[in-house]
Subunit: 263 residues, 2 copies
Amino acid sequence: MTGDWESGRDIRRLCRTGALVEPTSGRAPGYVQCNVVMMPADSAHYFRQFCEHNPRPCPLLAMSEAPGSVALAALGTDIDIRTDLPQYRIWRDGVLTERCDDVEHFWEDDWVAFALGCSFSFEEALINAGIEIRNISEGVNVPMYRTNIPCISAGPFAGNMVVSMRPMPPADVIEAIQICARFPSVHGAPIHIGDPAHLGIDDLNHPDFGDPVTLHQTDMPAFWACGVTPQVALEAAKLPMAITHEPGHMLVSDLKNTDLAIS
Amino acid sequence: MTGDWESGRDIRRLCRTGALVEPTSGRAPGYVQCNVVMMPADSAHYFRQFCEHNPRPCPLLAMSEAPGSVALAALGTDIDIRTDLPQYRIWRDGVLTERCDDVEHFWEDDWVAFALGCSFSFEEALINAGIEIRNISEGVNVPMYRTNIPCISAGPFAGNMVVSMRPMPPADVIEAIQICARFPSVHGAPIHIGDPAHLGIDDLNHPDFGDPVTLHQTDMPAFWACGVTPQVALEAAKLPMAITHEPGHMLVSDLKNTDLAIS
């Protein structure tokens, strides 16, 4: 069912009709996949500020042109953010309470949707350069860790940065830094390499999110600002209600990953 | 005597008239300084190949247009490679035998001169980005080490790569990689970061060339391919006669360091 011929629009159609409720990893190769966050306009004002203050973990790719708008024209034709993801998470008072295949019945006229860059884009660029991505070769979720680096807060949104970790030989770290620096809208270069203690991480084998991966003796861990950071900030904000994508179940756009590279 | 108003041509004039025999470090800020190697044409054929095979340690910026030509038009107007450096080294059968302020009496009609990129160029770019270069802040020569990485040989030229090492915080390493990658003609990005043992280096406090520098507890050592590599290959080649610059006493060109950046 998966195929190189799939476009972002194809995936969105499958989601909209209920034919796709699975993760989007590996689907529509080459197309930009996005983290999604939705909330009422009065909170959205601060969430936008939070993203702008913390662009490394929260790279804002697009947001609703006006409250109530379910389209994200910058990311694709005829997007309906209420139906075009495979699965959503519903948050009440900062607590995850349920999961849904579509959120038409939750969306209100004053809601705003945000789409943020996702590591899938730079992982594709690294793989194309011949770099092994351990979480992909081991078939697990990338390990993610809470750090001691505070984000710049905005209104109710605050918290420490979450990072994802990919171990690789030092020569690959050097190359990955050069490649990822060209993709600032999908987290950019790593924020740290080497000693996890520098970020306040005690044990790489016990990630706070995702799964542990194998570190070979000559590997160096590389840490990227992670899109789970806004979700942690959302929990802290304790909004009466908010909606996000289910991790791994992304909005697939019409943009190509290569379009995100700066020269 | 040193001043921002100096040009590369000014420095070469001072050398030519014998008024400058000191190191060129810090002189004519912004101008590209070069390693220099000179030898008879029959060996130069292989030395050019050696540089082309090993561009990271031996980035060839210019060479004599024809045997006997003392100009390097690509690097500056009216260069006379026999007189325009502050100090030279004379090598006989691969052994350093003497030092001179000019080499007019050694140069022959069949000799060829090579100019290679030098780390001064990227160090300037790093300093301009606010990165501390330890050997500069401690006022010593950069520490350099023989590695276990063989160069690709050409004719009599062979040997392992020599690297220079600059310790810095991991965040600066990440930035330095991005900056230096834009300067492939002056050694480019580091070839290794982190564990010295990976390069066969036993003890950072005992460099094979240059001086040791302080490593702070949170520093990560970054290793660049080094312009001493061709000098080691020259020693191995045991040419009856060859000439190089005295380390630190460089050919200062008319090019600006910023001209070397690729986009």
